[in-house]
């Protein structure tokens, strides 16, 4: 059984639907990457999972439980976590407080999680008393991912984690994501940086106009000449 399964999702912001039947299924061991052109409904898919817009048809099943249109503050305790693309930190709160907010639903001692986040992102430990809004773009992204990990999720959803980052940080963030996945957290992420992201993906989904166009492992999609031509900007480099 998959960790999360989206079955023919139709969803939108109230007007005409943006998603016209999206299917996605990944396991806890997977890194699932959703790619596609602008306006394909990639971010919308993640928001639909997290209850941020209304799903009008289809269903979302997480670990055997139906979570279609569930409120987001119910999803976090179930083991889902979400990093929005923008505004994904609490700017006037300190780094440590940001992480604490990620652990809001936990009533147990979360100092262990805090330590492992600091271990994963050493710069954050140095700046843990600083306001998150004063950090650089890459460090903010670390805060955002760290915050999402504090609830000990089984599925981490990331909306364009590499957006706006310098190439050095892109690589670093992707490395961290692989490490998080190795520690047993399923990953479902949306990326513009399609070629790089698919290289770390175990499952890849190409969306276009709110529908699945191609599905396969990351490698399969990278090797598929049609995917390369239409969605990865030209032929596969030799």
């Amino acid at each position: 059984m998959s960790l999360i399964e989206l079955r023919s999702i139709v969803a939108g912001y109230g007007g005409a639907p943006i998603l016209h039947g999206v299917d996605i299924a990944i396991d806890q061991s997977d890194i699932g990457v959703v790619v596609g052109p602008n306006g394909a409904g990639k971010s919308t898919t993640l928001k639909a999972v997290f209850g941020l817009l209304t799903v009008t048809a289809g269903s979302i099943v997480f670990d055997g439980a139906d979570i279609t249109n569930a409120r987001s503050d119910r999803l976090v305790p179930m083991g889902l976590s979400y990093v929005p693309q923008e505004k994904n930190i609490f700017p006037t709160m300190s780094v440590e407080e940001n992480l604490e907010m990620g652990a809001f639903i936990r009533r147990d001692d979360f100092s262990g999680s805090l330590a492992s986040v600091y271990e994963m992102f050493p710069p954050l430990k140095e700046k843990r008393r600083q306001k998150a809004g004063e950090l650089s773009g890459g460090q903010r992204q670390m805060v955002a991912i760290g915050r999402a990990l504090m609830s000990r999720p089984r599925l981490l959803m990331l909306d364009e984690p590499s957006a706006g980052l310098s190439p050095r940080y892109v690589l670093e963030i992707f490395e961290r994501i692989v490490a998080i996945n190795k520690s047993g957290v399923g990953i479902l992420m949306v990326e513009q940086n399609a070629r790089q992201a698919l290289q770390i993906a175990s499952r890849g989904f190409v969306l276009a106009a709110g529908q699945n166009r191609f599905t396969g492992t990351g490698r399969e999609l990278l090797d598929d000449p049609e995917v390369a031509k239409s969605f990865l900007g030209g032929a596969v480099p030799a």
């Binding site: 503050d73 930190i89 609490f90 006037t92 709160m93 407080e97 604490e100 907010m101 809001f104």
Partner: protein, 332 residues
């Protein structure tokens, strides 16, 4: 020296007292703005309502024969605060929550809160008429007088007991609020919601709970401020309607959404009012022989009858020159 004491009694003490009341009100306004993103115009009437709840409880207690050496209002204050907080929750549930659920603009909620203002005011006037009420019918107000043991000083430093209590309570509230917002789980959650409500929601923070806590704190502080104001002067149905604009001025001057800014703004407006109507000529009296005689006998910055406009002028200037307030940004 007598002149300095006169200044203390007539400018510093009133500024401190009214500043405390403005601060307590402005904190409520700023918390509501930070969490719910609208200017809660009915806050002044929440204060009046709190004052009347305290008054009813006080006469109720006196009615069953409880008599104390201090104003009974202090005794019933916690109960009154609880009642007002519940009333604030009920008002939100009945009038604001349905509009929020529809996703209306903040200014629609402002208009709705004006409707609530009028309903509360209408009800209070319906039951209490337009007269004034006094907490000190049974026990007279204690006036403290401190005489300085200095040669030639005839004038005592004087203030009333409620004034002392009010300033101390305000300080205690500010400290408690500080620890709540920086140390407690829900206090931090409130700051998180004020900072980024969407992210707070996806972090699993229960927004409804945060909204409820906000109303409980704002309602409780409103009751405290209203009762204190009633203890310092008298209780009138339009008590707080007249100070809602200075309170808004305090919140805006302090930077809307900034708790510490609201407190600073409250005292700033309070002192601005008391200092601008103070007759500064008094302080020049010891030098009167050296002064030219064309100097007028009244050197108040504005005439007393324009006292209320001081806050509005500060408000308008702040909005125009620095709309983000002294403490920039909109967050707790």
């Amino acid at each position: 020296m007598n002149e300095a004491i006169f200044f203390l009694n007539n400018a510093v003490v009133p500024g401190l007292v009214i500043g405390s009341i403005y601060a307590l009100g402005a904190v409520g306004i700023t918390l509501i703005y930070g969490i719910l993103r609208f200017a809660h115009f009915a806050h002044g009437d929440l204060m009046t309502m709190g004052g009347f709840v305290s008054y009813l409880l006080a006469i109720g207690l006196a009615g069953i024969g409880v008599s104390t050496t201090f104003p009974v209002a202090y005794l019933i204050l916690p109960v009154a605060i609880a009642i007002t907080a519940v009333a604030a929750l009920a008002i939100d549930r009945m009038f604001y929550a349905p509009l929020r659920a529809r996703g209306v603009k903040p200014v629609t909620l402002l208009v709705a809160s004006i409707g609530v203002t009028m309903m509360i005011q209408g009800l209070i006037r319906l039951f209490f008429g337009t007269g004034t009420y006094n907490f000190f019918e049974a026990t007279p107000k204690v006036i403290h007088q401190i005489r300085l043991p200095i040669e030639g000083v005839t004038r005592p430093i004087s203030f009333t007991q409620p004034q002392v209590v009010m300033v101390l309570v305000t300080v205690a509230v500010v400290i408690a609020l500080h620890f709540f917002l920086t140390r407690s789980r829900f206090g931090k959650a409130m700051r998180a919601v004020s900072d980024n409500a969407d992210l707070a929601q996806v972090s699993g923070i229960n927004l409804r709970m945060v909204v409820r806590i906000t109303w409980i704190i704002a309602g409780g502080l409103a009751c405290l401020a209203g009762t204190m104001l009633a203890l310092d002067v008298t209780l009138k149905p339009d008590l707080a309607f007249n100070i809602i604009l200075p309170i808004f001025a305090a919140a805006i001057v302090g930077g809307v959404g900034q708790v510490y800014g609201a407190i600073a703004g409250g005292y700033l407006i309070g002192f601005a009012e008391s200092l601008s109507v103070f007759n500064w000529a008094v302080l020049l009296r010891p030098f009167r022989d050296q002064l030219p005689d064309w100097l007028p006998t009244n050197l108040a910055i504005v005439p007393t009858e324009y006292k209320l406009t001081v806050a509005f002028v500060i408000l308008v200037i702040t909005l125009l020159v620095r709309p983000t307030g002294i403490f920039r940004g909109a967050s707790l």
